[in-house]
């Protein structure tokens, strides 16, 4: 039974802050920092936005594009490392918001930046085995970066939702392949407000090792090579890493352009590959083949081999805003506003 994407929807907060502005406050050369990371601006959630609202907005955009009865959705998973509650699911709120409750199984996922793609894999299994008709997989984050830390230049917010099923498919998920080891490159312990990271260790032995191994494993399993794909999406903690890994693997700039959003919206963590994939689906045509590799610190990768079907020609893409339109609808803010919006200013009890 073919399993694939039936619909998708995305959401990116509209506020943006530039590396130069962050550097201005901390006495760093923010412009050079941004150039080095290949990040020109990053999205910032408003005080009213969190992983729940981002997930709901993305899921609603997803539902607008299809005619699936939400009561036929049998599972919903939200992957994030910034769930608003440590105990109490994000997913239940999202399920209610799209009227998929109560006959549904729901859980929240966490695997650093790849919890959203792990959710896609779960839905693939449940749909493929016939346990459910449709499943929703969401990757969303309002990621944290400690004030003054290098992460502050990249950590941003956004998310995307995918409806997985076996009927009315717009893109078939041909296969998935994962590569996972215990590699502690980035972590946040219970109760800590900001994550810790191993500096340069997050590069070679973490991101590059896993993404490369997963990409090669996925292509081996699929019997494909880079040139077989029209598009490729790699996890994008900054602009440089995905560009470099793509080049090393033999993908061209043309192949990764559509799905490389981090230079403009920053690192949306669990939202990164889901958003990149959404941007690709916004412009892909039937027959296009898409390659995607998500990376989560800790560390692991999920690779996907995807083929856009004829169903895409009948798909009501325009019923919801495109990723590009959300990337272009922006409002720049200064660091003071950013600090207030992200709760970095200590208030008296009961203050905003």
């Amino acid at each position: 039974m073919p399993v694939g994407i039936v619909s998708y929807g995305a959401y990116i907060p509209r506020y943006r802050i530039a590396p130069k502005e962050i550097g201005r406050v901390w006495g760093n050369d923010g412009e050079a920092m941004g150039k080095n990371l290949m990040i020109y601006s990053k999205s910032v959630p408003s005080p009213d936005e969190d992983v729940v609202t981002i997930s709901v907005a993305a899921a609603r955009n997803m539902m607008r594009r299809c005619e699936v009865d939400p009561r036929e959705i049998g599972a919903l998973y939200v992957g994030s490392e910034s769930h608003p509650y440590a105990v109490k699911p994000t997913g239940t709120i999202v399920a209610e918001a799209i009227e998929a409750s109560p006959e549904i199984t729901v859980a929240d996922y966490e695997f650093a930046c790849k919890a959203g793609t792990a959710a896609i894999q779960t839905c693939m299994g449940l749909v493929g085995s016939g346990m459910i008709k449709y499943g929703v997989a969401i990757g969303a984050d309002t990621s944290q970066g400690a004030p003054g830390d290098a992460l502050e230049y990249s950590a941003s917010a956004g998310g995307a939702a995918f409806l997985i099923g076996s009927e009315r498919i717009i893109a078939e998920l041909n296969l998935t392949y994962s590569f996972t080891t215990d590699t502690p490159d980035f972590w946040r312990r219970e109760g800590q407000p900001y994550p810790s990271h191993g500096g340069r260790f997050t590069g070679e032995p973490a991101y590059f090792k896993h993404v490369t191994a997963c990409a090669l494993g996925t292509m081996k399993k699929a019997g494909t090579k880079p040139s077989d794909y029209r598009y490729a999406v790699f996890h994008q903690p900054n602009g440089k890493f995905p560009s470099r890994v793509a080049k090393q693997l033999g993908f061209t700039e043309e192949q990764i352009r559509a799905g490389l959003l981090t230079p403009y919206i920053g690192n949306t963590y669990s939202g990164a590959v889901p958003l990149g994939l959404s941007a690709v689906l916004d412009e892909a045509a039937p027959g296009d083949r898409i390659f995607a590799v998500a990376y989560g610190s800790g560390a692991g990768c999920d690779g996907f081999d995807i083929t856009v079907t004829d169903g895409m020609s009948r798909f009501k893409r325009d019923n919801a805003p495109s990723v590009r339109s959300m990337m272009e609808s922006t409002k720049a803010i200064d660091y003071a506003t950013y600090a207030r919006y992200r709760g970095k200013i200590r208030m008296k009890e009961g203050g905003e």
């Binding site: 050369d29 050079a32 191993g198 500096g199 340069r200 260790f201 070679e204 032995p205």
Partner: protein
């Protein structure tokens, strides 16, 4: 006495190697190169600055002896520490053992694993080579102390920023020829001048990196050396001096008196005049440090080493090839290994096995290693046998 075997790991961010693996790799390479059996080894010295703080492991000499299999023979294994000069001082202990006739064959290794801690912590551990009570408590960091030296040097001699930076350019040029170097890439003067500020006037490319790595040598009594190798390299002399721990207790900070004194002792003991030396490995933990070393050793008059570097006089093929390995800047600076790696480079050169970076007609090789801001200086003179 002779050096009959050398070994070195690649220097760099060795994420997949632990401290003990680094030590063993270097040690076994040296033992293999020397053609000695483990039962021939009579003592082990290990240069290491701060395994206790870098990897929370003390007692590293026993560790290396254990994991290299020689603990079974119950030979003495000793750790030696003198901050940046730890490795060189370990070499000196080995020299004492063999020169005194106590032992015939001694292995000296040096190792440091610096990248298991966050960068800021690694830098703080390096600071402990300076005076914690009277320097660091008041905000001085190791790079800041060297920045003060650089500023004063520029003031006294009218040296330019470009002259100081040219040391990094030259050492990267050499490092590009060394397959074991951490950075095997040439850089431009503008790269140094435009890199991130560390402590003005020093910038990132003026500073040696944080590195993992190990190096080892096998020392042997000269009369027995030919049993093991056709190309023993002679260790002609070893000398060492100390100075005040804190920089502010010195009469001058633009010269390390300890280097001058150590060099005088070395010349006296060896009878080798500096005019015969065209190969040197010196302690360029910062670009400014190499200029001080070259002037204190006597290769150039005070204030002239920068101009000489700009002129290419310290390049391979120049008047004296300084740091043909790439030095601490480009080869890397795993602190405990650094002084041993200098000896490894000199032996490689004197054997004529340095390939693209071979210094022509080198009969003697000089090594200068510094602990702290010139508080310990250890020097060795090697020569073809």
């Amino acid at each position: 006495m002779a050096i009959i075997g050398i070994g070195q790991t690649r220097f760099g961010e060795l994420w997949d190697l632990s401290f003990r693996e680094i030590g063993i790799q270097a040690g076994l390479a040296a033992i293999y190169d020397a053609n000695v059996a483990s039962e021939d080894i009579e003592a082990l010295y290990v240069g290491n600055m701060s395994a206790g703080r870098f990897i929370e492991q003390e007692h590293v000499a026993a560790l290396i002896a254990d994991y290299s299999g020689i603990a079974r023979d119950h030979i003495p294994a000793t750790r030696v520490e003198a901050a940046g000069a730890s490795g060189a001082l370990a070499v000196r202990q080995g020299y004492f053992d063999v020169a005194s006739g106590l032992h015939d064959i001694v292995v000296v290794g040096g190792a440091e694993k610096m990248t298991d801690v966050p960068d800021a912590q690694g830098a703080a551990i390096q600071d402990s080579a300076a005076d914690q009570q009277w320097e660091c408590t008041f905000g001085a960091t190791f790079p800041a102390l060297h920045a003060m030296i650089a500023r004063r040097y520029m003031h006294e001699h009218g040296a330019t920023r470009e002259e100081i930076a040219s040391v990094a350019v030259k050492n990267h040029k050499h490092g590009a020829l060394n397959p074991k170097a951490q950075f095997q890439k040439e850089i431009k003067l503008e790269t140094v001048l435009g890199s991130a500020p560390v402590a003005e006037p020093l910038r990132m490319f003026d500073c040696a990196p944080l590195s993992d790595g190990g190096a080892a040598v096998v020392m042997c009594a000269m009369e027995k050396a030919r049993r093991y190798t056709d190309s023993p390299v002679r260790m002609i002399a070893s000398s060492q001096s100390s100075d005040t721990l804190a920089l502010h207790h010195r009469r001058t900070i633009t010269s390390f008196e300890a280097t001058k004194v150590t060099m005088r002792k070395l010349v006296k003991r060896s009878g080798v005049d500096i005019s015969k030396i065209n190969l040197a490995e010196v302690h360029d933990n910062y670009t400014i440090s190499e200029l001080l070393a070259l002037e204190d050793i006597g290769f150039f008059p005070p204030g002239e080493a920068g101009k000489a570097t700009m002129d290419g006089q310290t390049e391979i093929g120049g008047r004296v090839a300084v740091n043909p390995s790439g030095g601490l800047k480009a080869r890397g600076d795993p602190i405990g290994a650094t002084g041993v790696a200098q000896i490894v480079e000199l032996v490689t050169q004197l054997r004529g096995e340095a390939g693209k970076r071979q210094v022509a007609d080198a009969r003697y090789g000089l090594a200068q290693s510094v602990g702290g801001t010139g508080s310990t200086v250890v020097m060795h003179l090697l020569g073809v046998a």
